[in-house]
Symmetry: C2
Subunit: 462 residues, 2 copies
């Protein structure tokens, strides 16, 4: 039996398992769902153990738990790979605009709809199938490389404890290549490999004014209004060219090279189609950069949410007592999250009018951006494995989103390769998240071929 | 028995009635409470009938009902007064910061705490007591003037149907003087009479972007963010001098006269105390005007509420699909609400970035500002009645808040006088609204003296 046939014959079993897992609302950002995040870790532990991994453990992180699994190669000299993914998911409520219950996964043809099906449970799960397919094809009892998996539970909360978890378990996680399965491909027809991700730091800004909401007839126009001060502050975040106006924000950012610009410009990018996927009727952003450059290689500031005063039905003529905003910053290689946080704090502090209080609370230390060297043996091997699975050329892209990948590469001293099969129209972090089941199966195939290739190469040169 | 003694002997009965009425959550802005607004109208009808008003009717307005009552003078040549007030109240929830249940009125010493106790149920109710006190003192069967009362049910929703109600019932509301009991005095120690109120128009602005919330990693920085556009828009509402930056907003506004400025400056205004009442640590507003000028004679734009995107716990890295703001504008004599609305619509329309949709929904036609002539016989009679009740000089003030008073004066062609005993620290429209019971009793006395004085004067000259 070859890899492809094994994978295809196990499709239904694979989808059934994913439906079961995605039904657990493992929302790490919501303390009310922390029990579910633990339940999700337990589910994955049981699933990987059943798949044959000799070692499967739940690792406490101080926050939400990660799952670690290991399947040693028969040959003690074979390379070791570490697969990274996450089992926590973004918040989701029907009221946000879902057509289905977000945690009742629904299969429609080749698609599975539900929170986490693409980001990232589906992409974690194909690795278990991939290892088994490889064994079925080779007839061996153990994979051609030592496969380690680390599936964390706080990625959607900015991975606040992940760097520490890596440090503490550095020896058990030692590896020659880190395989990241938490990104997207160019399209279902144009498979691609990501070679960089942006970093992230996020904060909540709170401005406080009168002790309580007060009548705008009696006090309006004569005391500072925190909602107005918040509007002024948020409006000042960008200049007229769409650049982030926080002084020092761009410190360390290397301008994009001409070579990289050319590479990006050669991708078959259809802006109209991209806008349709975004559900937006126009593109806009930093002057002087293309849409792909804006989302891949340029840092941003984005208002994710804001609220103040009366938000219910009808009229309430008040000066609100407080105003809140959630703002996140996407970072690129060269930017240090701690430096950005310090510069944002200073920017806010300088702009608060007399009479208002202010708090800026960052959601954690933030996540640095990362990039992989496209000339490295690991990237070449992964590209070739994907090309075999998909039967076509695999291109290079970047990813505008963020994960703790930079930490992994730094702590473990191993190169990153991204083997992932999500799509931009999977609506991750949005209502109606879905995944394309045939692509998950290609992911499983790719993983099996990659282990075979890396095993036959011996330890990569570096 | 004199008026004062009658009023004081009926204190407990009066407070018990007010507690019963204020327990009805007649929130006109919330469709979920419309049944309670009707219940409140029924309560008042029964109360006024029991007080002796020969005619008491519930008037449908197309929206929430008003209550009309009439008690003709014995002398058919006596003047007619029309008392205006409202029986609907602002929204209130314990979660907003109340120390008590807002609709379970609580008596603490001389205070009654609860939504509507000051604004405006307490001030409507003292008129029923005042009429009875006058009759007890005179021994007559009917008041010295024909007393009409019109107590509307949509004041806190901008009185959308009130002008029409007045027009339709112009004959039955005909009067020589309109008495407004919906404002405040300078302080408990410094009684005063209001001679002007600001107008109001309010809107909700909605900006729409992506069809749903989208992932800020995949789309952030490359599509217009409605929250950012809203911040830009709200920030642009004011210039650096705190003036409203909507072109044409100040059309028709007469600058304040030197005489009026002097009058305002002579009031014993303690800014530190006023800030303590506001619960604010600083005053701020339009450059070149004092705090009292800012709230009494200058128009304003105020953000009453705003919301967009993720407002719950934790982080959600999205570009929100929409942003909302509730903005109200206080108007002064000379400004036309319809003109201001048209200018605001144009201002918003000019500022919406490409790719975003926009809606501006005004809560109704708006309310014009009003002012009374301090030299008129009606104002002189009311001032003198209040001076007799309070035993001290009564000063003149204005009111920063808004009501449908301008409509009443226009439609009925009668001068306005304000006889009201609320205080700025009654926390109307805010948590922990209260009223000073002794001041309500002084209000009842003032009303009785005013009817006596107007009755003995015969019809005012104009």
């Amino acid at each position: 039996m070859d890899v492809r046939r094994y994978v295809e014959e196990h499709r239904d079993e694979f989808v059934a398992a994913l439906k079961e897992w995605a039904a657990i609302p493992s929302v790490s950002a919501d303390p009310g769902h922390h029990g579910d995040v633990r339940k999700s870790a337990g589910w994955l532990r049981d699933h990987l153990a059943a798949a044959g991994f000799p070692t499967v453990e739940i690792w406490e992180s101080g926050g939400m738990p990660a799952v670690f699994a290991e399947w040693p190669a028969a040959d003690p000299g074979a390379p070791t790979v570490l697969v990274y993914g996450h089992h926590d998911v973004q918040p989701a409520r029907v009221a946000d605009g879902w057509d289905t219950e977000p945690f009742v996964p629904e299969e429609r043809g080749d698609r599975l709809i539900g929170r986490g099906t693409s980001d990232d449970k589906g992409q974690v799960l194909f690795h278990a199938l991939g290892v088994r397919a490889g064994l079925a094809a080779s007839g061996a009892d153990a994979p051609p490389v030592t496969v380690r998996m680390l599936v964390e539970g706080e990625e959607e909360s900015g991975s606040p404890n992940f760097a520490d978890l890596l440090e503490r378990n550095r020896d058990r996680l030692a590896c020659d290549v880190v395989v990241i399965s938490d990104t997207t491909m160019w399209s279902a027809d144009v498979p691609s490999m990501c070679v960089g991700m942006r970093g992230l730091t996020d904060c909540e800004i709170v401005l406080t004014g009168p002790e309580t909401d007060v009548h705008s007839g009696s006090f309006g126009g004569a005391v500072p209004n925190p909602a107005r001060a918040m509007a002024d502050l948020l409006s000042a975040l960008h200049d007229g060219d769409g650049r982030v106006a926080v002084p020092g924000f761009y410190d360390g950012v290397a301008e994009i090279s001409a070579e990289e610009r050319d590479l990006i410009a050669r991708l078959p990018f259809d802006e109209a189609e991209w806008l349709a996927t975004a559900g937006s009727s126009a593109a806009s952003g930093e002057a002087g950069y293309s849409t792909l450059e804006r989302i891949w290689v340029r840092p941003t500031a984005e208002i994710n949410g804001m609220w103040s005063g009366h938000t219910g039905a009808g009229t309430k003529t008040i000066v609100p007592h407080s105003a809140h905003a959630k703002v996140s910053f996407r970072l690129v290689p060269g930017q240090e999250p701690a430096h950005v946080q310090e510069r944002v704090r200073a920017f806010v502090a300088e702009r608060v009018p007399a009479g208002l209080g202010v708090r800026v609370e960052f959601g954690g230390p933030g996540v640095r951006a990362c990039a992989s060297d496209i000339a490295s043996p690991a990237v070449r091997a992964a590209r070739s494995a994907m090309e075999r699975a998909f039967g076509t050329e695999v291109l290079f892209t970047r990813e505008g989103g963020s994960g703790p990948e930079a930490d992994i590469a730094d702590v473990l001293g191993a190169p990153l390769v991204f083997v992932a099969v999500g799509l931009d129209d999977d609506r991750i972090h949005a209502p109606n998240e879905k995944v394309e089941i045939p692509l998950l199966l290609k992911g499983a195939e790719s993983a099996a071929y990659l282990w075979e290739r890396l095993g036959s190469q011996g330890p990569p040169a570096g």
